[in-house]
């Protein structure tokens, strides 16, 4: 059985697709067969971030409608042969995704894959709903900024009441906070909410902090998930996040700005 992870946020532009691409690659690099699915029907972009946009033949909706098999639609990643991408459709039909269709695909993928990463669209419409509905774990990507924190809280309410686990009275979805675009220097100046502030408001388990980093744009420019840029701070932050998710004990970094002892002390929470 696969573990289904939804990468969600409510708000747009906080780094859901960047995160989905990075953690899917990270899990696959750790030896777990992983599929990453783009749920943003009509605004497909995961393919660009993964650098496979020219290899898209069939998509998610084609599989749901029986126009292609899952194997025909899955694209094997060029950097890692344990990673597969299922691109979103570019159709304008808002009802292209159905709960039964998505459920069936996830069930089929579960037989063969260890992890399934669902890249949610922004908002709380159908695509976002279906991306989180079947999830076991939720990665809530949040920026240290008022509108993002508020939308994350709203998303947490939806995860707790509208998911399959909630509806069937199962153990709730495990929720994790990924705080992205973090600038320790601005936090020190009192210009940005701190990790502790955001955690206090959302009461979420912190999986990791991703610093504001030039490497993220560079990675998307070239279509390589930022986690493969092992020298970059954001790449290392995502590697840590994947390791922590898999149960490794990694002290938090990138919270205090300077590397070394200080970061370890502040990140030990």
């Amino acid at each position: 059985m696969a573990r289904i992870i939804v990468v969600t946020s409510g708000k747009g532009g906080v780094g859901k697709t960047t995160t989905s691409a990075a953690i899917a690659m990270g899990l696959a690099k750790k030896g777990h067969k992983t599929a990453v699915i783009d749920f943003d029907v009509g605004l497909r972009n995961l393919d660009l971030i993964m650098g496979c946009e020219r290899r898209v033949v069939y998509d998610f909706v084609n599989v749901i409608n029986g126009e292609a098999t899952l194997n025909q639609a899955l694209i094997r990643d060029k950097n890692c042969n344990l990673l597969y991408i299922l691109p979103a459709s570019q159709t304008r039909d808002k009802d292209a995704l159905s709960q039964e269709g998505v459920g069936k695909i996830l069930e089929d993928l579960s037989k063969d894959f260890k992890y399934i990463v669902c890249d949610s669209p922004a908002g709380i419409e159908k695509g976002a709903h279906l991306a989180m509905y079947f999830a076991d774990d939720a990665f809530v990507v949040t920026n240290p900024e008022v509108s993002s924190v508020r939308d994350s809280d709203r998303m947490l309410g939806i995860l707790a009441s509208k998911s399959r686990r909630a509806e069937q009275n199962q153990e709730p979805i495990r929720e994790y906070l990924l705080l992205s675009r973090y600038s320790p220097d601005r936090v020190k100046l009192g210009e940005m909410l701190s990790v502790d502030d955001v955690q206090e408001i959302l009461s979420l388990h912190l999986l990791g902090v991703i610093p504001e980093s030039k490497s993220v744009l560079n990675a998307s420019n070239s279509g390589t998930p930022v986690i493969l840029d092992e020298k970059s701070d954001a790449g290392q932050a995502y590697s840590d996040i994947v390791a922590r998710y898999l149960g490794e004990d990694k002290p938090h970094r990138f919270i205090d700005g300077k590397k070394g002892l200080f970061g370890k002390f502040f990140g030990s929470k």
Binding site: E145, V146, V149, R150, D153, R154, G157, S161, V187, L189, G190, E191, M192, L193, S194, D197, E200, I201, L202
Partner: protein, 88 residues
């Protein structure tokens, strides 16, 4: 205290303002999120029944739902007008 610290504490930081605003907003939104979905309908129907006997306005009735760890309370508050004018 360094000179830098002096400037830093001399005015409220925008981050602490953000935190304060968020705490209030999030607490408010969470309390309304847990309300049962039948509340607005209940309020509407209660109002209709009361109006059969007493001439009250929309704002005269408030329905509040509160949830503690082990009990749920539904509080209905109706403000009657000064003299009980019967509806025509």
């Amino acid at each position: 205290m360094s000179l830098l610290d002096y400037f830093r504490t001399s005015k409220t930081s925008s981050a602490s303002l953000a935190k304060e605003r968020l705490q209030i907003l999030v607490a408010h939104e969470r309390s309304s999120r847990n309300q049962p979905s039948y509340l607005p309908q209940l309020q509407k129907e209660l109002l209709e029944v009361i109006r059969k006997y007493v001439n009250v306005g929309q704002e005269a009735i408030s329905v509040n739902f509160e949830q503690d760890d082990n009990q749920e309370t539904l509080e209905v508050n109706i403000v009657l007008p000064d003299y009980h004018a019967k509806t025509p």
